[in-house]
């Protein structure tokens, strides 16, 4: 038998103006178990809160209903007042008679009648609420960062500088990601490697960062504060610590493969360093393209290393498994480019002189396939007429990607400018739909490009690209003049869209982090919580969450790091206790609930009875709805309470 107190707020005139407060108080006072009912002008104010506290003490209340604005507004406030007055905070219910009554119904009679029902519902629920205590879990004060691009690098450094151990897992042989592949960055035309390099070195030297290259996350168990992650590290066959990057091994290696760093525009050996400033500064043996390790078919690299180098190779190395315990995970898996071969109208993959933006980027780079000179892939000649096509396969919900990749307008402008610098007598054309240049200094940069001699911006789309007599015929339209356009180009560059990295799908399911409709990691709230996944303990940084430029990536990475630092600031963590519970005597172990939980919080124990991991459970209640025995219940939203509320409505 509870002693319930009901407090009805006027909210100035917001509620009192359209709801008969006195009637609501009177009717509430007559409900079963209600021993006290009163109204107040502003319950959230100091005097209002004092009224609640005093009433709880005076009338010995053990549960309260606050009829006021939406629980989304002040539920935590009123729950805290209840707690400070000696009640369990879960014995406080909010009846929303403002947003869903006073403000939306024309007639005072209607609004009041609805308010009665809403209050009655809350009274019936609170009568059956159990007092609950938050669930305390310990926090492992270590962090895992997945993906060693600029986002992962920045996040790892910020967390490490905050004093915590970081494991930085990177799938390739070096950190640096896409930014290492860039020649310059907009709008300042900084040399990308020059600004990235020092950060990479800082990561490598940092006492709090353990860098695991050639590594992938294999399995993730646990929950926020307590993740157990299994990482599989492929062997490099080279001892990182001993290698001095002398390159003798590569000289001796007979196997040549297309260099993925240059998108196949150059070759590398099976034993290689991804790029000159790679971190760790050690070679990697690509076992897939080596002539053979089991059994050893060649071994020339090791021979050379033993003879001329530091004797740091071990061709019998095996993958290593790292079992890591961390409290938080930052997913910074970055992006890839949309497969341009799907854009059949542009002829990518058919005509060698149609390139993607990243391929062109490599060509611009002094360390790239042409040492920075712009050349046609087909014949090595310098192109004089170059066409850049923006929005290639993007902003097209019917046939390709529905979204905008945000950075293409900017890098295309940069590409066109660089072309003009390197080929002063060349002519560049940019086909665009819109120019999106919202960042700091971006508009000014694009303006400069648009005003540049030999650089023509055409507003319109390209219908087709085909080859004729060694030239690429680009057929498009210029909507501002209303004319169709044909350009006989030497080189065509496609600004293809950013898509999430190919591993993100598998990783997301291991992390139990949701992906959005386009495969990017979902954020907990698009406006107010863009740095974390809805799954507690998983944080997001970089293009893996949505297309963005470098300043935004760095900002997001630092933001995610700061959230992580907040999480780790205490040795324990409190979770909401309104989670699922199993009544063992009623559970038959049918297992129907098991596959329904998005957090894998349900399992069958040795006695074949279902068990809920309270720390993993987020309290959605979907398992409760599916349980055919009623053995599963949701704390403080039980079926009994649901029925009580239904009956309160239909009476």
């Amino acid at each position: 038998m509870k002693r319930v107190g009901v407090f009805v707020c006027h909210c100035g005139l917001n509620i009192a103006g359209n709801v008969n407060i006195k009637e609501v108080v009177d009717k509430a006072g007559k409900q079963q178990d209600v021993v006290f009912a009163i109204d107040h002008k502003y319950l959230c104010s100091e005097p209002g809160q004092a009224l609640i506290k005093d009433s709880i003490r005076q009338h010995n209340l053990d549960a309260i209903v606050v009829a006021a604005c939406s629980p989304a507004m002040h539920e935590p406030t009123f729950k805290t007042i209840a707690q400070l007055s000696g009640l369990n905070r879960y014995n406080c219910e909010i009846a929303n008679i403002r947003e869903q009554s006073s403000w939306v119904h024309d007639d005072v009679g209607e609004a009041t009648a609805k308010a009665h029902i809403t209050v009655r519902q809350s009274i019936r629920k609170v009568r059956l609420n159990e007092p609950l205590q938050p669930i305390t879990v310990p926090v492992t004060r270590k962090v895992l960062v997945i993906g060693g691009g600029i986002a992962g690098i920045r996040a790892a450094l910020d967390v490490a500088n905050g004093g915590y151990q970081v494991y930085l897992v990177e799938k390739s042989g070096t950190i640096g990601g896409r930014m290492a592949q860039l020649s310059e960055t907009f709008p300042t035309l900084d040399c990308s490697t020059c600004i990235l390099g020092p950060l990479m070195v800082e990561v490598y030297r940092h006492p709090n960062i353990k860098l695991l290259r050639l590594s992938k996350v294999e399995d993730v168990k646990g929950y926020i504060g307590n993740f157990k992650v299994r990482v599989r590290q492929e062997p490099a066959y080279v001892d990182e610590a001993k290698c001095n990057a002398c390159g003798e091994c590569a000289k001796a290696c007979p196997a040549q493969v297309p260099n993925e760093f240059d998108f196949g525009l150059t070759w590398r050996k099976a034993i290689y360093t991804p790029f000159a400033q790679a971190v760790p500064p050690a070679y990697v043996l690509d076992a897939k393209n080596c002539l053979g390790l089991l059994p050893q078919a060649c071994g020339e690299c090791k021979k050379a290393c033993d003879k001329f180098g530091t004797s740091c190779m071990d061709l019998d190395a095996w993958p290593r498994i790292h079992d890591l315990e961390v409290g938080a995970i930052i997913a910074s898996t970055g992006y890839e480019l949309y497969d341009a071969t799907k854009l059949t109208e542009y002829g990518y993959g058919i005509f060698p002189d149609v390139m993607t933006s990243l391929e062109f980027e490599r060509m611009l780079s002094a360390s790239g396939p042409t040492t920075g000179e712009i050349k046609r892939p087909s014949d090595g000649q310098t192109p004089r007429e170059i066409v850049f096509i923006q929005c290639a396969g993007q902003r097209e919900p019917e046939t390709a990607l529905p979204y905008c990749s945000k950075i293409c307008c900017m890098y295309t402008a940069r590409h066109a400018m660089m072309f003009r610098h390197k080929v002063p007598d060349g002519q560049a054309y940019v086909f665009y739909m819109d120019i999106r240049a919202g960042g700091k200094g971006y508009e000014e940069f694009v303006k400069r490009c648009q005003e540049e001699k030999g650089l023509l911006y055409l507003r319109g789309r390209v219908a087709k690209v085909y080859e004729e007599n060694g030239k690429l015929i680009v057929k498009g339209v210029d909507t501002l003049s209303g004319k169709t356009v044909q350009i006989n180009a030497d080189l065509v560059v496609l600004a293809v869209g950013m898509i999430p990295s190919s591993e993100s799908h598998e990783l997301a399911s291991k992390l139990k982090a949701s992906l959005d409709a386009n495969g990017f990691f979902s954020e907990a709230h698009p406006k107010l919580r863009p740095l974390e996944s809805p799954t507690a303990g998983i944080f997001l940084a970089g293009a893996g969450q949505s297309p963005k430029d470098i300043p935004e990536t760095v900002a997001q990475a630092s933001g995610a790091a700061s959230k992580v630092l907040g999480l780790l600031s205490s040795p324990t963590l409190e979770r909401e206790p309104t989670v699922a519970q199993v009544v063992g005597e009623l559970c038959s172990g049918c297992g129907i609930c098991l596959s329904l939980c998005p957090y894998d919080a349900l399992s069958l124990n040795a006695e074949k009875i279902a068990e809920v991991s309270e720390a993993l459970c987020e309290g959605c209640g979907t398992c409760i709805a599916s349980c055919p025995s009623g053995a599963l219940t949701l704390r403080n939203l039980t079926d009994e309470q649901m029925v009580a509320m239904i009956e309160a409505i239909v009476e």
Binding site: V583, E585, L586, C587, S588, G589, C590, G591, I592, L594, S595, L596, K608, T622, A625, S626, C627, P628, S629, G630, A631, D639, V643
Partner: protein, 318 residues
């Protein structure tokens, strides 16, 4: 010591519950040594007048099976209630409405039309339908009034205990009857002779990840007798049905059809099964979900096969 007086009666039933009691076989003799069976129209030559002649509360325990579908059922149920200290709803019909309560998908007119006019083998050119009264040469003949809605026993009279099953399984019958004789009895309203857990608890079949990719009728598949039927696409009411029957149907490679009724905390057996089944549909899009829904031809009849009388909605809209 005076022997306990017990009674068995049947309302709208198939007789299976009576056979379940007869199947006690020689144990009936042991029973007869412990109790006096004072009323059992199905097996012994008792008449209603015998029941009417008894004093109120003179029967210690009466076991009534069958649903209440006509005025005779109702009258005798009330009579039996008056004459008995304890009244037990025996079998699915008395407890839940049973198969007879599927008549709640129609009404008297519908049933008469079907039985006396529309079925292909019926020859009834004068379209004679049963009447409550008819004059014949010898006088007036009466028939009980046929009701539009089938009721459970406890929707008609106050019931003390329930024994589920269609029929209750042999071992349970013996145990339950002896429990009344020897005691002790649980509080009023308890369900006897059944488990508080679902059939899945006793079922020996192996369950794996448990998502449903298709739904088939039993004849449309050759099912693996070791694996869970639900996972193989055959609708088995096991998860939403009380155990205690020894999962005899499953052992015979037939799906459970729910005759032991809902679990203690379930407010509606059919609704619970509907939720459990659809929850594990392996379908994400509206289209795929609809395909699976379309392959359940008769949700009402499947999920409420035995329990429509006791369900939340009780009958279809007339």
């Amino acid at each position: 010591m005076t022997k306990m007086k017990i009674a068995f009666n049947w309302a709208s039933s198939c007789g299976g519950c009576e056979i379940a009691i007869l199947e006690l076989g020689t144990k009936l003799v042991d029973l007869a040594n412990k109790v006096d069976i004072v009323f059992w129209p199905a097996a012994l030559d008792y008449k209603y007048s015998d029941l009417e002649a008894m004093a109120d509360n003179s029967i210690d325990v009466a076991f009534e099976n069958g649903a209440i579908q006509n005025s005779e059922d109702e009258h005798i149920a009330k009579l039996l209630r008056a004459k008995s200290k304890l009244l037990v709803a025996f079998g699915a019909c008395a407890y839940l409405g049973g198969i007879p309560s599927l008549a709640n998908t129609t009404n008297r007119d519908g049933i008469f039309a079907s039985s006396y006019k529309e079925t292909p083998t019926t020859v009834n050119p004068e379209k004679t339908f049963p009447q409550t009264k008819v004059q014949v040469r010898e006088g007036e003949l009466t028939l009980p009034e046929f009701y539009n809605t089938v009721k459970t026993l406890d929707q008609t009279v106050d019931v003390d205990y329930y024994v589920p099953g269609c029929p209750p399984v042999g071992e349970q019958v013996s145990k339950v009857i002896n429990q009344f004789v020897d005691g002790p009895l649980p509080p009023k309203g308890a369900v006897l002779g059944a488990s508080d857990k679902s059939l899945c608890h006793e079922c020996k079949r192996i369950r794996t990840d448990g998502k449903i990719t298709k739904i088939v009728r039993t004849y449309q598949t050759i099912s693996d007798p070791q694996k869970c039927l639900l996972e193989q696409g055959v609708i088995c009411m096991g998860p939403a049905t009380r155990g205690g029957c020894g999962s005899i149907c499953l052992d015979a490679n037939a799906p459970c059809r729910g005759c032991y009724g809902p679990l203690p905390k379930a407010i509606d057996q059919g609704g619970k099964m509907l939720s459990a089944l659809s929850s594990i549909f392996d379908a994400q899009s509206e289209e795929d979900i609809q395909k699976l829904v379309d392959s359940v031809p008769d949700p009402l009849g499947t999920f409420y096969r035995f329990s429509l009388g006791r369900s939340l909605l009780r009958r279809t809209k007339p």
